[in-house]
């Protein structure tokens, strides 16, 4: 085998190895974008947009506050979402937003996971 062919095979093995390692943990997961939608002296409102990823339908997505001064406005869970579906949760923080404010979003179903989403990183 000449040098160019050998190098090609070595590159292919390397890239394939990276693909195998990165693809192994794939499964249902969530992606988040947080938007700061309202601000006044009394409260701050945030919209937590959650997108289902991973190609599969998930059992349920639920949101819960991590700190005491947070309140979820409207629905706190959604069932039977397909991959690519998006759901928005509205969160109200009273008494001034702080850097520690966060919500926990729980993905229920065959692959159960929970994510802590900080509101301070809002767009």
């Amino acid at each position: 085998m000449n040098r160019a062919r050998l190098a090609s095979v070595a590159i292919a093995i390397l890239v394939t190895g990276v693909a195998a390692v990165r693809a192994a943990p794939l499964g249902p997961s969530l992606e988040f974008r947080v938007f700061h939608t309202a601000h006044n002296d009394v409260f701050d409102d945030y919209l937590v947009m959650t997108t289902v990823r991973g190609g599969e339908q998930v059992g349920e997505i639920a949101i819960e506050p991590v700190t005491g001064k947070l309140r979820i406005q409207g629905g706190t869970s959604m069932k039977g979402l397909k991959s690519g579906n998006r759901v928005g949760f509205t969160v109200r923080v009273t008494g001034g937003a702080g850097p520690g404010d966060a919500v926990r979003i729980v993905l229920r179903g065959p692959a159960e996971r929970s994510y802590e989403v900080p509101l301070a990183e809002a767009e």
């Binding site: 160019a4 590159i11 390397l14 890239v15 693909a19 990165r22 693809a23 997961s29």
Partner: protein, 139 residues
């Protein structure tokens, strides 16, 4: 004339090789869009993961071989393009043309219909290069 032709073949081989290698690298680093894409054609889980790893391996081998000139000609690349178009049509039947194709992962978020057009143009260029190469070999 033959020097110009040879230069065109080398440049085209490196460019198309880079295209394949980039597609493989992008999918290897961020395989989620490709995983969601193949999920329309094969069962998700180990089968879809093996399909991605296999496709990445084939693309990386072809890309590296074309850049390093370990393979001459554009037949393998055209064959891979035809295979890719076949998979795109297969997934399109289930997901529709507006679904993301995941061909270049998050680097370029292309839709299936856009990718079909692009692949058609690239395949036509390949066919032209192959014909030119054959004509050059005869003369």
């Amino acid at each position: 004339m033959s020097r110009v032709r040879d230069t065109v073949f080398v440049v085209a081989s490196v460019l198309f090789g880079a295209m394949w290698l980039f597609a493989a690298g992008a999918k290897a680093w961020a395989p989620l869009p490709a995983y969601e894409f193949v999920g329309y054609a094969v069962p998700l889980g180990i089968v879809a993961k093996l399909a991605i790893v296999g496709a990445v391996g084939a693309e990386a081998l072809l890309g590296a071989a074309m850049i390093l000139r370990a393979t001459r000609g554009f037949g393998w690349s055209l064959g891979m393009l035809i295979g890719t178009v076949g998979v795109l049509f297969w997934v399109r039947a289930a997901a529709g043309g507006e679904a993301p194709c995941g061909c270049y992962s998050n680097a370029f978020e292309t839709r299936i219909d856009d990718e079909l057009v692009r692949d058609g143009v690239i395949a036509a260029v390949h066919a032209g290069l192959i014909v030119w190469q054959r004509v050059g070999q005869r003369s």
